[in-house]
């Protein structure tokens, strides 16, 4: 089970850029580590992450073992209307996660 958090400014002016900070709690297993019994731990990383703004896809990231554990991403969106910023992601084990935050545009 992974948890994600989206950090947004309290409010933004219309047309301005919004810094979206995303942190997903995930081990991002590389597939090269072994457990204490010498068995290889399967690769398990957040494969894909999509960001929807009021239902429209605005940003997406495909990640691999090169991204550090507990991936953190900072990107910028154009503030159009107040609404929902939603994150959807899926990892190699097929576990899906979602998180959302409300953006207030003044």
């Amino acid at each position: 089970m992974s948890v994600a958090k989206i950090s947004l400014p309290k409010s933004v002016n219309r047309g301005e850029s919004v810094a979206v900070r995303v942190a997903i709690q995930h081990p991002m297993e590389t597939g090269y580590r072994v457990d204490n019994k010498g068995k290889l731990i399967l690769k398990n990383t957040v494969r894909e992450m999509n960001c929807l703004y009021n239902g429209a896809l605005v940003f997406s990231a495909e990640m691999g073992s090169g991204i550090a554990a507990n991936p953190y991403l900072l990107f910028y969106l154009v503030a159009k209307d107040s609404g929902l910023i939603q994150l959807n992601w899926v990892d190699d084990a097929g576990v899906k996660g979602t998180a959302s935050a409300l953006l207030t545009v003044v």
Binding site: F59, M63, A68, A69
Partner: protein, 180 residues
């Protein structure tokens, strides 16, 4: 205090200085020639050359994967800014920030941004897809690096042109990505 007299004193001492100059110059020349001679003997010119940053091999050689990503298209090395520490103490967590100079309008925007590594077992660190809904083509994240190497950021624009930037990172504590 009599400032006029002070001025006169200064003026009076000037000729003494000019008389001493030729001697000083002679000594400087002698020192310079000695230094040059010593440099020649010690092979100093090679040391000076080593201080000039060594040229990085072409990006396609650094990251062979780039050829498949660009399908052989020409890659220009500008417009992309890659910010990464010169010395990363911990290879498991290296902060990296990439920004691409682009107006991000519907007709001209950055389509895809690739983060590539020279020595990681999987050279593709991340593939980021931007849209005109992004205020700027900028991304900050934290990556893993297996050893000192070059990190390359490759951007594909909406007109399918490719732009890139690279940076050399020294990693003290390597992320043991290949179980070595």
């Amino acid at each position: 205090m009599d400032f006029q007299n002070v001025g006169k004193q200064c003026k009076a001492s000037l000729p003494v200085l000019t008389e001493a100059l030729p001697l000083a110059i002679q000594r400087r020349r002698a020192v310079k020639q000695l230094a040059l001679l010593a440099a020649g003997v010690c092979g100093l010119p090679s040391v000076v050359q080593a201080q000039v940053p060594t040229a990085r091999p072409p990006l396609e050689v650094v990251v062979p994967m780039m050829k498949t990503l660009t399908a052989g298209a020409h890659v220009q090395e500008s417009r992309v800014t890659l910010t990464i520490p010169l010395l990363a103490e911990n290879g498991h967590l290296v902060p990296v920030s990439v920004s691409v100079d682009s107006p991000m309008t519907g007709s001209d925007y950055v389509k895809t941004l690739y983060l590539l590594s020279e020595k990681n077992p999987r050279p593709l660190i991340a593939k980021i897809s931007f849209t005109p809904g992004c205020a700027r083509a900028s991304l900050t994240t934290r990556i893993r690096l297996a050893g000192a190497q070059y990190v390359v950021a490759l951007a594909q624009m909406s007109d399918n042109s490719f732009w890139a930037a690279s940076a050399e990172v020294v990693v003290t504590d390597t992320a043991c990505l290949d179980a070595t």
